[in-house]
Every structure is written in structure tokens, then in C-alpha cells.
Amino acid sequence: MNRRPIFIRILLLCLLLVASGVDGVRPLSSAHAQPLPLEYQVKAVFLYQFLKFVEWPPQAFHATNQTICIGVVDDGSMSSALQSVEGKEAKGRRVVVKRFKKLEDLEFCHILFISSGLEGRMTEILDRLRGTSTLTVSDIDGFARRGGMINFITVENKIQFEINVDAAERAKLQISSHLLRLARIVPEGR
């Protein structure tokens, strides 16, 4: 039995598969939404749910503007995932998603999601938000202990969250007991 041909045949088959697959992906995927990691899809819906279980002080809302805002800084995955909640309703207001390219562009949002890629600038962002009533949410390790409010953590492939109640209270936010019951309450670290 000649050996080389079988190897080449297998390789060819693989290449064929891959090539056909790749070519197949392009036209189809442009018709559908880009596949997103489920993790972000779930986290995006969490952000939407948080809108319902947190009370902002009245001055956080424009009387005239019937919107409630989720902000996200420079994160492709979360920013796309938030499309699923954009335009929905929460607290009788329409959800808008603001995508900030740079930190300098940051405006007030009821919730701000800080992606783990921004870990290095976390302190800077939190400093910037001090004195506003922004609910800060992130999946940076130890975010809630380090002064953030809600921290997504992954436990056995499921998304759970930690809440730093003190930080939320400082921003005059009231978190419903329902949300607190589901969360791990963490103290502030250094």
C-alpha cells in the first residue's frame, strides 16, 4: 500500500472542507448577525435586567427625554451583544446604547460596562465617574472589591455576580433586595 497518497488525500479533504466552509460562511453570515460568544449575549441581557432592579436618583433622568442609557467603552463583543436590548423598554423608558470609542468621549449613562481589556485604566475610569450616579459593571477580576459596583464572575461556566453595596450607595443608587439576594456581597478592598 502506498502511504503518501492517503496522507495527501486526507489533507486535501481537510482543505476542501475548510475552504468550502469558509466560503460558505461569508454570504450566509452577512445575512445573519455575526456569531457572538454566548457569554456576551448573556451579559448584555444582565445589563438590561439591572436597569429594572436598580433605582437611580430622580436627577439621573431628564424629564423630557424618555430614555434610559447603557454605555460601553470600546468593546466589540459587548457592543454588538447590546443590540439585542437596544430599543427595548425598562422603567417605562426606551433603552439606548451609547458606544464610546475613547475614554475622553465618556458621557453620563445609567449603566457603564467596562470591558476587561480596560483593566489598566480602571482606576482612571472610576475616578472620572465619581460623584455621578452611574452603575459601574465589569468582568475585570476583583472589580467590585477594587471600587466598582457589579462584577461578573464565571463559576462553573455560569455567570454570577458580585456587588459592592458601599460603592453603589456612594453613587446614591438603590439596589433591589431581589438582586442582592442573587449576588455575592463583597466588601471593598484597598
Binding site: 500500500m1 502511504r3 492517503i6 496522507f7 488525500r9 486526507i10 489533507l11 479533504l13 481537510c14 472542507l17 475548510v18 468550502s20 466552509g21 469558509v22 460558505g24 460562511v25 450566509l28 453570515s29 445573519h32 448577525a33 455575526q34 456569531p35 457572538l36 460568544p37 454566548l38 457569554e39 449575549q41 448573556v42 441581557v45 444582565f46 438590561y48 435586567q49 432592579f53 466589540g76 463583543s77 439585542s84 436590548v85 427595548k88 483593566e119 489598566g120 482606576t123 468582568d139 477580576d141 476583583g142 472589591r145 477594587r146 464565571t154 463559576v155 462553573e156 461556566n157 455560569k158 455567570i159 454570577q160 431581589h178 438582586l179 442573587l182 466588601p187 478592598g189 484597598r190
Partner: protein
């Protein structure tokens, strides 16, 4: 056989192709926005979680076996768990012995595979390889086993030539409360394992474990019991302390002991020239490791790690006592937004003391070996989020071959969210083991008509040097949807200075009784060669309650002993050319799980005796009525009474033992 393979591969192609298109067709994800908080919290994000993202983004052939995979495979040891990894060959040839390798050159001591448990290397510098029987922990505590096929020398150092296996245990934080498992069967005669984890204050988590296992004999080809049953006892602890949000300190350790039987062929100068000796042997040891990780702002991170490992083996042919101390420091820092640098230094001292039996002698009997190394690696975002180049090298100095450099270059291209293409060129070395320098072992004796008996003696060689390789790799990963992923890797590797044994000048020993002639064979480096192959791993998750894995690997080895060498090319067919693994994990109603795994391993014609191809089938039925209780029934090797997977020790033919059909029942509680 080739036809069977071809059909298997075609079927695989068809399944994946169909899955691919059907996955694309069902592209729009379900609307999650109607889920409540509680429902959201119970959604499994099995696809791209944080650590799997690392795998997805790595420019190397990487696979991960999770703790859940191990549990659902029903295996009871780390070597058996490695059967689940695509492209890894696992061959059991004694109840406590395995030959395990990646990308060829499998042997009793597969010297081209580096194995680490929680950052502690368990590769023995005595033989260059792994004593698998002492590499264990409570399997329930294993978080994952990361396997890198191909060279990992730049980060992990010498001997990470054809692969690196990292066994990583869970953090104490995630193993809180009590756990107890008991079980037994015809091959795993009885085992019990227990663990308790707790916390002190807010930031200190701990756990301790103990396990005992009693393993049955394998059988000989004729079905007779081999005398190789074994028992192990082990216990250990782990502490994880987070003194601040930036620091984590881990302290862990294990103690173990055990005893085992083996039958060894010992050459003798008078008829029958080879006697089988049954021996009852034992091992014991312990290790202690501590690691401090400090995270700074801007993704800077330092790690300082120290470990101490003591191992003792008392076998018929040799006794080894070895102490190893290792200190390692790593610093990772970004420069601007484009560069992510990591450098580290490592120093290791290993001190051994070996008592010899006459037929296996190490000279000198004590040795202290040093290893000093440093590495630097830069990950450069050539085009942010699109094209990443990783450049780095390890530089080390060891007591045997002196200075070694192991550079690599890796490129990762990310055209979009669901495709990754990578390529790599690396140089790696396998440094000499103590065995290759200092051993003298009687391999065989045979009568010469009309003359004195000839004794074949394998001898170490003080000129034995490192084996080298240059590897070219190419890989492609695709995840067209949440439910399907395919991972392809191809490689071409050039080896040089491979180990051979070459005849020396015969020495007549006339004064001895009986008079004989010693024919020495000196270990040398007179072979080059190349290997190429592909490894394909695919996962299909068509519905939330069913997951399928299908893996295939192809390997071709061509060896070329140089003109002055008498070495044969046995290694060419000591590793299977084709391997196929298929696994199905199914969640059923009434808290039942039904899991099946089939493994096809190609024949090994260059072993003595030849090992035929085999197909292995494992089934598991699990029942988990509550989160706290788990009952499972496992059958392994169900297709035949017994079959061989390997033969031969150090090239010496032995009476091979065969793996038997096994059934076991296990119950576990959490409290």
C-alpha cells in the same frame, strides 16, 4: 485497515460538513431578553469563556480536558484521562505503567513530552520521562488539563519538545465543603477519596484531601494474571490566600506512598539466558509548592514560585532517592498598546542517590545537577485585533549539555470573530538524561555456538548530547456558531541528533564464571529524521443536552540513521499512524447521563511482539438525583476480554501485559 480509516474520515467529513451548514442555518440565537435573572444565572456559557478564549487565541495546537470531561469519561487516573486528548497516544502496558507521547517517539519513557502539575515539573531527569504511577491527585480537584502538542520550549524549557501537559487543580475557593467518593470494580478493586474545604476570614480558603486506591493486575496474552497489582495512598492540601485585591498566595503540598508488583526480564549467563523475576516494589514521596502572584496597574504582573519535591523508588533493579528544588520568577508588562512582554528566570537543583542492582548500574551513584534558565517573549499586535506576532526564546544552561537556546516565532491571524489561522516555527531540544550519560545495563545474553556466551550491555556515553528539532506548524480554528467548533493543526518537524545505540569493542571477561564476552552498545546521537501529520478536533453541540467530540490524528515518521550507525528505525512504527476518538455526552431526563467514548488506535508493527490495531469502547451511565449525590456505572474496554497496547521495555522484549475489560461503580456525596 486503510479503507476503514478512509471511511471513518469521510464520515467525519460528512458529519462536520452537515453540522457546519446546519449550524449556519440556525444562526440567529434564541432571544435571551425574556429570561429572568435566575434563568440568566443558570445559562451555561460553554463556548468561549475566559480561559477557553486563551485557547482560541493561542498560536499553537492546544487542547483542554476539563474536570467535567474527566468525570464523564469515568476514568480514574491522569494517564487514562489523557486518552481524551486529540493526538496524544496513551498505551498502558502494566497495571501502573503507561507509555504516553504526542507526535511520535512513544516509549516506556517518552522523553519528548514535558509534564507539569500546578507548575511543578514531574519529568524525571533519571530516565527522561514520567513515572506516571506517582502523578496523581483527587481527580475531582482537577480543574483542567491543558495539552500543547508541538514544541513549548520557549516558555517551558528543555524537554518540552513534542508536547507539554499541564495538570491544573482547582482553587480552594471553588472546592468548599465536604466531598466523599467510594467505588470499586473488577479492575479498580476499591477506591475511596475524600476532601474538605473551608475558609478562614474573608480571604483565606483551604482544602485537604486523602485518597486510597487498590488496582487489579493486568493479564498476559494467554489470559493469566500478571503480578502487577498496586496500591496507593495519598493526601494533600491547598491554601489560597488573597491578602489584597492585587495579591494571591498559593501554598500546596502532597504526600504519597504505594507498592506495586512487576515482572522483569533479567539476562543470565547460563541457560535459559533470560529469567523472569517477580518483584514487589514501592515508591513514596512528597512535594511542597508556594506561589505569589502580584498584579499591578496596566496589566503588569509578577509571579514568584518555589517548589520542593522528593521522590523515592525502590525497585528490583534500582533504588532512587531524589530531591529537587526550584525557584522561578516571571514578570509580565505591556509596552504601549502594541507589545505584551513576559520574561522570567528559573533555577533548579536536583540531587539524587541511586543504589544499584548488578544488572543496572549508574556511575556515579550520587549526582547534583543544576539548571539555570531565562526566557523572554514579546507578543506584538502587528495589526490590533487582527494580526499578532509572538517572538521569544529560552536560554538555559544545564549540567549535561551546557548552553541551549530555544527560540520560536508564532503568528496569529484573526480575520473575524469565528476564524483563527496560526503558524509557528520553533526550535527545541531534549537534553540528556542521567541514564544516557551514566548507565550500564545488561540487556540480553545469548549463547554463541562453540564460543563463550555474549552479554549485551547498554552503556551511557559522556559525549551523549541533546536531541534537537525544528518544527513548522500551521493551524486553523473555526467556530461558525455556538454549537460547532473545528480545530486543525498540521506539522512538519525535522529532528537531529536522535538517540541511537552503537556497538563498542567487545570485552572478553575470561576470569569470571562462566567466562563470557561483553558486547557494549553505547548510546549515541547518530540519527536524524522528520515527522509530519495532522490533528483534527471537532466539537458539535447540536442541542443543549447533547455534545459530540470527534478527533482524528495522522502521523508519519521517517528516520535516517547516519551511515556509521547500526540503529534500526523501529521508532517509525512505535507510534500509531492513525488515531480516531469519538465521544458522545448526553443528558437524559430523570437526571440521567449517558456517555460513550470510542477510541481507534492503529497497529504498532515495530514493537516486539507486534501490537495490532484496537478499538476501545467505554460507556458510562450516571445518575444525579440531587446536586449532592452522584452515582455512576462505568464500563471500559467493552469490546474484548483483553488486548495489548504496548510491548517492550528499553527495547528489551518482555512478556507484555494486556488491558482487560473493566466495570466499576462509583458513588459520591457533597456535603
Amino acid at each position: 485497515m486503510t479503507r476503514v480509516i478512509w471511511i471513518l474520515v469521510l464520515t467525519w467529513g460528512l458529519i462536520v460538513g452537515l453540522a457546519y451548514t446546519s449550524a449556519l442555518a440556525q444562526q440567529p440565537p434564541p432571544d435571551l431578553t425574556d429570561l429572568s435573572l435566575e434563568q440568566l444565572m443558570s445559562v451555561e456559557i460553554t463556548s468561549v469563556s475566559k480561559r477557553e478564549e486563551q485557547l482560541w487565541e493561542s498560536a499553537a495546537a492546544v487542547s483542554v480536558i476539563t474536570g467535567e470531561d474527566i468525570r464523564r469519561a469515568g476514568v480514574k487516573s491522569i494517564p487514562e484521562a489523557l486518552r481524551l486528548v486529540p493526538g496524544i497516544q496513551v498505551a498502558q502496558f502494566g497495571s501502573n505503567r503507561w507509555a504516553i507521547s504526542a507526535r511520535g517517539f512513544n516509549a516506556t519513557f517518552s522523553n519528548k513530552l514535558l509534564v507539569l502539575i500546578d507548575g511543578r515539573t514531574v519529568y524525571t531527569p533519571l530516565f527522561a520521562g514520567v513515572f506516571w504511577d506517582v502523578q496523581d491527585t483527587l481527580l475531582e480537584d482537577i480543574d483542567r488539563i491543558e495539552v500543547i502538542r508541538g514544541p513549548g520550549g520557549t516558555l517551558w524549557g528543555a524537554n518540552a519538545v513534542n508536547g507539554v501537559i499541564n495538570v491544573i487543580t482547582k482553587q480552594a475557593k471553588t472546592t468548599q465543603g465536604g466531598y466523599l467518593e467510594v467505588g470499586g470494580g473488577n479492575e479498580e478493586r476499591g477506591f475511596v477519596g475524600t476532601r474538605y474545604g473551608g475558609r478562614i476570614g474573608d480571604n483565606l480558603f483551604y482544602r485537604g484531601y486523602f485518597k486510597y486506591a487498590n488496582h487489579d493486575n493486568l493479564v498476559t496474552a494467554t489470559g493469566r494474571e500478571a503480578a502487577d497489582d498496586w496500591r496507593t495512598y495519598r493526601g494533600g492540601f491547598r491554601l489560597d490566600w488573597e491578602p489584597s485585591t492585587r495579591d494571591t498566595v498559593t501554598v500546596q503540598g502532597d504526600l504519597y506512598k504505594g507498592d506495586f508488583g512487576q515482572t522483569l526480564p533479567i539476562p543470565s549467563l547460563s541457560p535459559p539466558f533470560m529469567v523472569s523475576s517477580d518483584s514487589r516494589d514501592d515508591f513514596a514521596g512528597g512535594n511542597f509548592l508556594t506561589r505569589w502572584k502580584h498584579k499591578m496597574a496596566d496589566r503588569r504582573e509578577t509571579t514568584l514560585q518555589f517548589y520542593y519535591d522528593r521522590t523515592h523508588r525502590d525497585e528490583l533493579l534500582f533504588q532512587e532517592m531524589r530531591d529537587t528544588v526550584d525557584l522561578e520568577f516571571q514578570y509580565r508588562f505591556p509596552i504601549g498598546t502594541r507589545h505584551d512582554l513576559i520574561w522570567g528566570v528559573d533555577t533548579r537543583v536536583t540531587i539524587d542517590s541511586i543504589d544499584n542492582n548488578g544488572s543496572l548500574v549508574f556511575t556515579p551513584t550520587h549526582r547534583t545537577d543544576h539548571l539555570v534558565s531565562g526566557f523572554i517573549q514579546d507578543q506584538i499586535a502587528l495589526i490590533p485585533d487582527r494580526l499578532t506576532l509572538t517572538l521569544g526564546s529560552k536560554f538555559e544552561h544545564n549540567s549535561y549539555s551546557g548552553f541551549e537556546a530555544q527560540p520560536n516565532a508564532r503568528l496569529l491571524y484573526s480575520p473575524n470573530d469565528w476564524n483563527r489561522v496560526w503558524a509557528a516555527i520553533s526550535r527545541a531540544v531534549r537534553t540528556p538524561a542521567r541514564f544516557e550519560r551514566d548507565v550500564r545495563v545488561n540487556a540480553a545474553a545469548f549463547p554463541v555456538p562453540g564460543g563463550p556466551t555474549t552479554l549485551i550491555q547498554m552503556k551511557g556515553n559522556s559525549d551523549f548530547t541533546s536531541e534537537e528539532l525544528l518544527a513548522f506548524e500551521l493551524g486553523y480554528r473555526v467556530q461558525p456558531s455556538e454549537w460547532l467548533s473545528v480545530d486543525l493543526a498540521g506539522f512538519y518537524t525535522i529532528y537531529d541528533n536522535l538517540r541511537t545505540s552503537e556497538p563498542g569493542i567487545p570485552i572478553p571477561v575470561m576470569g569470571a564464571s562462566p567466562p563470557h564476552i561483553v558486547q557494549p552498545f553505547l548510546l549515541d546521537n547518530r540519527m536524524s529524521g522528520n515527522t509530519y501529520g495532522v490533528e483534527i478536533a471537532s466539537t458539535w453541540h447540536p442541542v443543549s443536552f447533547w455534545r459530540l467530540h470527534l478527533n482524528y490524528s495522522y502521523l508519519k515518521i521517517d528516520l535516517h540513521p547516519d551511515a556509521t550507525s547500526v540503529e534500526g528505525t523501529q521508532d517509525q512504527r512505535r507510534s500509531p499512524r492513525h488515531q480516531v476518538q469519538a465521544r458522545s455526552l448526553l443528558d437524559l431526563p430523570w437526571h440521567l447521563q449517558f456517555d460513550a467514548a470510542a477510541f481507534f488506535v492503529d497497529r504498532l508493527p515495530k514493537l516486539e511482539p507486534t501490537v495490532p490495531a484496537y478499538l476501545r469502547l467505554d460507556l458510562r451511565l450516571g445518575w444525579r438525583p440531587t446536586k449532592a449525590f452522584d452515582l455512576s456505572l462505568v464500563g471500559q474496554n467493552l469490546l474484548d476480554n483483553h488486548h495489548p497496547e504496548w510491548a517492550g521495555i528499553f527495547g528489551v522484549p518482555v512478556k507484555p501485559t494486556e488491558v482487560q475489560r473493566s466495570v466499576l461503580v462509583q458513588a459520591s456525596w457533597r456535603f
